[in-house]
Structures are given as C-alpha cells and as structure tokens.
C-alpha cells in the first residue's frame, strides 16, 4: 500500500512540475499582454501587476485608428488563408505522391524520392535570392499565392516522407482485396488507404499548418503590404528602430496562438493516434 501511495504522490508531483514547466512561460505571455508598459518596467517586478489593461486587445480588434494594431487583423486573416490552403493542398499533393512512392513501381523511383527529400534538407534561407528574382519576373511578388506555393514546397517533401512509410506499412492485402472488387488505383487510394492513414494525415496536416503559420522569413521578404503580409511579420513590426514593445508582441503572440491551439485541441485524438509514422502494423 505504501508503495502505491508513494508512487501516486510521485506521479502528482511530476504532473505538477510538468504543469509549471509548460504553463508558466505561457502565463507570462498572457500577463505581459495585459500589463501596462510602465508596470512591466518597474523594478522590482510586482506580481500580480497593479493594473490590468485590455487596451492592446481592443486596439487590435476595435480601433481602426491605431494603424499598427489594426494591420494585425489583416495579417491574421492572411495567415489563416495561407495556412488553410497549404494544409489542404500539401495533404492532397503529398498523399498522391506518397501513394506513388509506396505502391507503384517505376523507373527512377529511388533517385526521385531522394531528390524530393534532399530539397527538405536545404535551409530555405539560402535559396531566397534566386527565388526572389524568379518570383519577381513572374510578377508574383506580394501575393498569397506565392506564399502558398513556397510553403507547399517546404511542406510536401515532409508530408511525402512521413506518409510514404505510413502507406508502405499498410498491408498489401487490403489493396488486393479492393482491386479484386473492381476498384481502380485511385479508388483504392480514396476508399482504402486514406481512411486507414487518417491519423497520419491529420498529424502531418497539423504539422503542415504549423509550418505555414510559423513561417517568418519568406513572408518578410516576399510580401510588402496587407495584401499578403502574414502574422509573424506583423508581430515583428512591433519592434521599432530603438525600441521593442514587448507588451504588444505578447498581445499579438497570444492572439496568434489561438488558431493552432484550437486545431490541435480539435484533432487531439487523431493527433495522438496518428503520430506513429511508420509504426502501424496489422
């Protein structure tokens, strides 16, 4: 009995430590966003802060006068549009390609897969310069389409890598059964593979969403105005030449956390189930 109790206590202590580890920095983010600048810069730091202010949030959502804050709204919308498009498209494109690599035989398969994965290994930073000329010549600067294409090029190799081992581990017997029943290859893909690989698709979809939501540098370089500017760039704009407005950054940060949190919360079950990558056995 003692051992049991000791173990339970140990569990709860660990759980509490985990709670602190995960929660405290995030809590500070929220607190910073509702504390006045002058309270944030008083020493010694007083916690909880003497005044609460929702001014920053109201600025962002309801105040068209504050240019920076209301520009943030536009950037959020752009981010959502781009991320949603990238998620859907990368899964579609990636699923097709993964199926091809996992199930079809054709010449040049291994080298092709290799090239695809190699593009995943280059730091994107470096291809910006020639990429910019290309995009500029195509007249595609400052468009959401460009961002979607760019992020797709980062997400698809990753989706393919994870999904193709996922597909490969799904028993061939399922496919053969479907073929005997008269399904074409595409029908097999749709009716057999995708449902079985759904957790994997959800997991990679979430990763694709986060990649696109996160991405800062390409958005900075390839966009200029609110036509295509995304949220990370908008948050970076809270830094001026000599001053950094941490309160505003925290506010933008809290708002920017909401969509990813909502998505991971909704798909949590599939996320947990889908992360086994190539580990699905019969």
């Amino acid at each position: 009995m003692n051992k049991r109790l000791g173990f339970r206590i140990f569990l709860y202590v660990c759980a509490f430590v985990l709670f602190l580890f995960v929660g405290l920095p995030f809590l500070w983010l929220i607190v910073s966003s509702v504390t006045l600048q002058r309270d944030l810069t008083t020493l010694p730091l007083v916690f909880p802060p003497p005044t609460f202010t929702l001014q920053r949030y109201t600025d962002i959502f309801f105040n068209p006068g504050n240019a920076i804050a209301s520009a943030f709204q536009g950037a959020m919308v752009n981010s959502l549009v781009v991320a949603a498009a990238v998620t859907v498209l990368s899964l579609a494109v990636g699923a097709l390609a993964s199926y091809t690599f996992a199930r079809l035989r054709f010449p040049g398969k291994k080298p092709l897969l290799f090239v695809l994965l190699f593009t995943y290994m280059i730091p994107p930073i470096v291809i910006v310069i020639p990429l910019y000329m290309l995009v500029s010549n195509l007249g595609l600067l400052n468009t959401k389409l460009t961002l979607i294409l760019l992020y797709l090029s980062m997400a698809v190799p990753f989706v393919v890598w994870v999904m193709q081992s996922y597909f490969a581990s799904i028993g061939r017997s399922f496919e053969e059964a479907a073929r005997i029943d008269g399904c074409s290859r595409l029908q097999t893909l749709w009716h057999v593979y995708l449902p079985m690989a759904l957790p994997g698709l959800v997991a990679t979809g979430i990763l694709a969403f986060l990649l696109s939501w996160d991405e800062f540098f390409f958005s900075l370089i390839f966009t200029s105005t609110l036509d295509a500017k995304t949220m990370p760039v908008a948050i970076a704009e809270f830094s001026a030449k000599n001053t950094v407005d941490y309160g505003m950054i925290a506010t933008g940060g809290v708002i920017a956390c909401v969509p990813p949190l909502v998505i991971t919360a909704i798909f949590q079950k599939q996320l947990v189930n889908g992360m086994t990558g190539g580990g699905v056995k019969e």
Partner: protein, 420 residues
C-alpha cells in the same frame, strides 16, 4: 554627292533619335508608378510620408507612388533581395549601407545636386551618401547623438554648465559620484551591437583617431583609437561609467536616464521627447541637451545616424524616382515636418518656425551637425562591425588589454580588406 547625303542623313536621324530618347524619357512615357520603401515608427511618421506623397502625386499627374513601410531591422534584407529586381524604386537606406550597396551595384548613382544646395547641407550628412567620389542618394532623415545631462545633479555638485571636454565630463562625474548623487553617473549603450560602434565612432573621432584612412585601409592601432578605447575602459574602472553599459542598447540608456539614474548619457534625438514626457520620465524638468564633449583635438564629435533615400539598381524609372526624392528632401517638406525629424538644410535651422517646433534641440543641433562623423565607409563594414564589436567588448570587459584588442582588430580588418 547625292549618294553620300542619304546615308549621312539617315545616320544623323538615327543618332538624334537615340539622343532624344535618352534625354527626355518622362515626356514620352505614359503613366508612371513608383514603389517606395520606408521605415515604420521613427522620424517622419507614416502619416507624414503618406500625405507628402499625395501632394507629390497631385503635382505630378500621371505618377502614382505605392508606399511600403517595414520595421527598421527588415530594411536591409528587403533592399538586398529586391534591389536587382527593382521591386522598389526608392528605398530608405542607412548610412552604413551606402558603401556596401554602392560597391555591389545595388543602388544607382544619382544626378549631381545643384551647387547652391550642396552648400546648404551639412557636410557630414552629405558624406554618408558618397562612395568613392560618387553620390548614391540624398540625405533625408537626420539623426545624431547628443550629450544629455541631468541639470539637477550637476547643480547639486556645483556645476552650472555642461562639460566641454570628455575629461571634464569624467571629473564632473567623479564629483557627482563622490557626492553620492547617483552611483554611476555616466551610462552608455555599449552592448555588443551596432550601438557600440556608434559610440565608438563618437569617441575615436573625438580623440582624433579614424578607423580607416581615406583609401580604405584600417588604422585601428593609431594613437587616437588607443586613447578612445583606453578612455572607455578607464571610465568603467573609475566607476563613473555604469558597468551594465556593456549590456545596454539605446533603449536601456533611455530607461536609466529618464529614471533619474544617470547624470550623463549619449543618445539619439528620440530620447529628448521621452525624457521630457511626464508619463514616461522622472527627470522632465532636469533634462539638459548639449554638444557631445570633445578633446584637445576637436571641439565635439558625434556619429551620423541619418538615413538617406536611394534609388535601386533595378528601378525602371530612375528619373521620376529622383524627382520624388528631391520632393521629399525639399526644404518645404522638411520644414513642414521638422517636428518629427530635423532637416538636412543648414538654412532651416535659423527659420523661426522650425526653431519654434523644438527650440532646445534645434539650437544644439545647429552646432552639433557641424561635427558629424560617419562610420567607416568600407564595403565590408557589416562584417567589420560585428567583429570589431567583439574586440571592443573584450577590452571593456577586461579580457584583453587595449593594445592587444586593437592589434587583433587591425589584423582582422586587414584580412577583410584584402578579401576583395
């Protein structure tokens, strides 16, 4: 005769066509769209620029200007990636970028400025746009560092006027410290960042030491440089410089000074409004502004933080772009918005309206601008700056003696200069 006449006439016609098409492109072109890249949150506000741009468009029918504003830190990357493609015709650049962009061919040389105008611009500000004798932009936003001092602390220590030399400043600081008015009287922005190079430029110029000579060769082991770095190290050792200065940026200097924790500080124009703002400052009535103290070599020395307007290489409308730049740098624009950023024109500093906007700052600037020094105008300045910051910090933190740090810096700079 007839036979020779026709080809000659044809040739003459062709030549005149070529010459004509080169001479007046804007007359024969249709509507022109310019794209301009500016900075957020400093100097002229977005509203200032936007309304001035609308006036420009009204004065030049057929020309539209699209404006983009980015944070200061992103300016360099935006210009670097887009210069060749000419995404923006006009860009707000920065003094230290001129040499680099000029050598790399990312910005175009601009037409000569009228001689009468040239005389009316402070030479130091103008110099920031020149590389190897050619001009690559027009000064637009001005900024220099001033000496800020706390009048109350000085008076309490028995001083009625700000120091004229650096040595005087140190002895005043010692007196203030001895009277226990503040623990560390002087605060600087000596963090490992460009801010350190700005302060170092001030001090090395004050002691008569240039970092590079006219031909671009490093002279970091000169007497002036040794004195400057030794001055910095000694002021920490003497306890008159706040030791946390080695972690401070301009913002931190502002916090310390406006919080009443320093008697002397070097900072840009923006700290003036900050220190005078009752909501943000504890020393509103005690703020003093003066020339940066000099030495026996020079009466004063300060660093140029101004930002010029340049035309990118890929711009398809350089003539219109230059017209736009001339409009923004024109005396009337700069006079109208002088509250937000001080003009580049000497004559405006005696203009009653400009003076009325900010009497104390204008009065000091009028003199201070005669002592502007630019950071080294070498193409490899970026690489040099980041490594030089390390060396200076090593000396400041006591990790290396001054001579050794400077010698290593010299070797480093020679290596960089030789690479190209």
């Amino acid at each position: 005769m007839k036979k020779n006449f026709v080809p000659a006439a044809l040739a003459g016609a062709l030549i005149s066509l070529l010459v004509l098409s080169g001479c007046s492109p804007d007359k024969s072109k249709g509507p022109v769209t310019l794209n301009a890249l500016f900075m957020k949150q400093a100097g002229y506000s977005e509203e200032d620029v936007t309304s001035a741009t609308k006036e420009f468009e009204a004065a030049h029918p057929g020309t539209t200007v699209n404006l983009t504003f980015v944070p200061y830190e992103s300016l360099e990357q935006k210009i670097t990636t887009s210069a060749e493609a000419g995404t923006y015709d006009v860009v707000l650049s920065d003094g230290p970028f001129t040499a680099k962009f000029a050598k790399a061919g990312l910005v175009q040389a601009v037409p000569e400025i009228a001689a009468a105008d040239l005389k009316d611009i402070f030479p130091g500000a103008l110099d920031a746009t020149v590389y190897q004798g050619k001009s690559y932009g027009m000064p637009w936003m001005n900024d220099v560092k001033y000496l800020y001092y706390n009048k109350k602390m000085l008076k309490a220590a028995g001083f009625d006027a700000p120091p004229k030399t650096l040595d005087e400043m140190v002895s005043m600081a010692k007196a203030i410290k001895a009277k226990k008015l503040v623990q560390y009287p002087i605060v600087w922005s000596w963090s490992q960042a460009e801010a350190l190079m700005c302060d170092y430029t001030v001090l090395s110029s004050a002691f008569g030491g240039a970092m590079f000579d006219a031909s671009g060769k490093p002279t970091l082991t000169s007497e002036g440089n040794k004195k400057a770095l030794a001055f910095m190290v000694q002021s920490i050792k003497d306890g008159v410089t706040n030791p946390k200065s080695t972690e401070y940026l301009e913002d931190d200097v502002g916090n310390v000074f406006a919080g009443g924790q320093a008697a002397f500080a070097l900072n840009w124009t923006y700290m003036y409004n900050w220190a005078k703002d009752p909501a943000k400052s504890k020393v509103v009535d005690d703020v003093g502004l003066a020339l940066v103290p000099g030495t026996s070599e020079v009466a004063s020395a300060t660093v140029n933080g101004g930002q010029p307007l340049s035309i990118t290489k890929g711009s398809k409308n350089p003539v219109e772009a230059w017209n736009y730049i001339l409009y923004l740098t024109d005396r009337s624009f700069q006079k109208k918005y002088s509250k937000n950023s001080l003009p580049i024109w000497k004559s405006l500093y005696t203009d009653a309206e400009v003076v009325a906007n900010n009497p104390e700052v204008v009065a000091v600037s009028k003199d201070q601008y005669n002592y502007i020094n630019n950071r080294p105008k070498v193409p490899f300045y970026s690489g040099f700056s980041s490594q030089m910051q390390v060396k200076i910090q090593e000396a400041l933190l006591g990790k290396k003696p001054v001579e050794v740090a400077l010698q290593e810096a010299q070797t480093m700079a020679e290596g960089l200069a030789a690479q190209n």
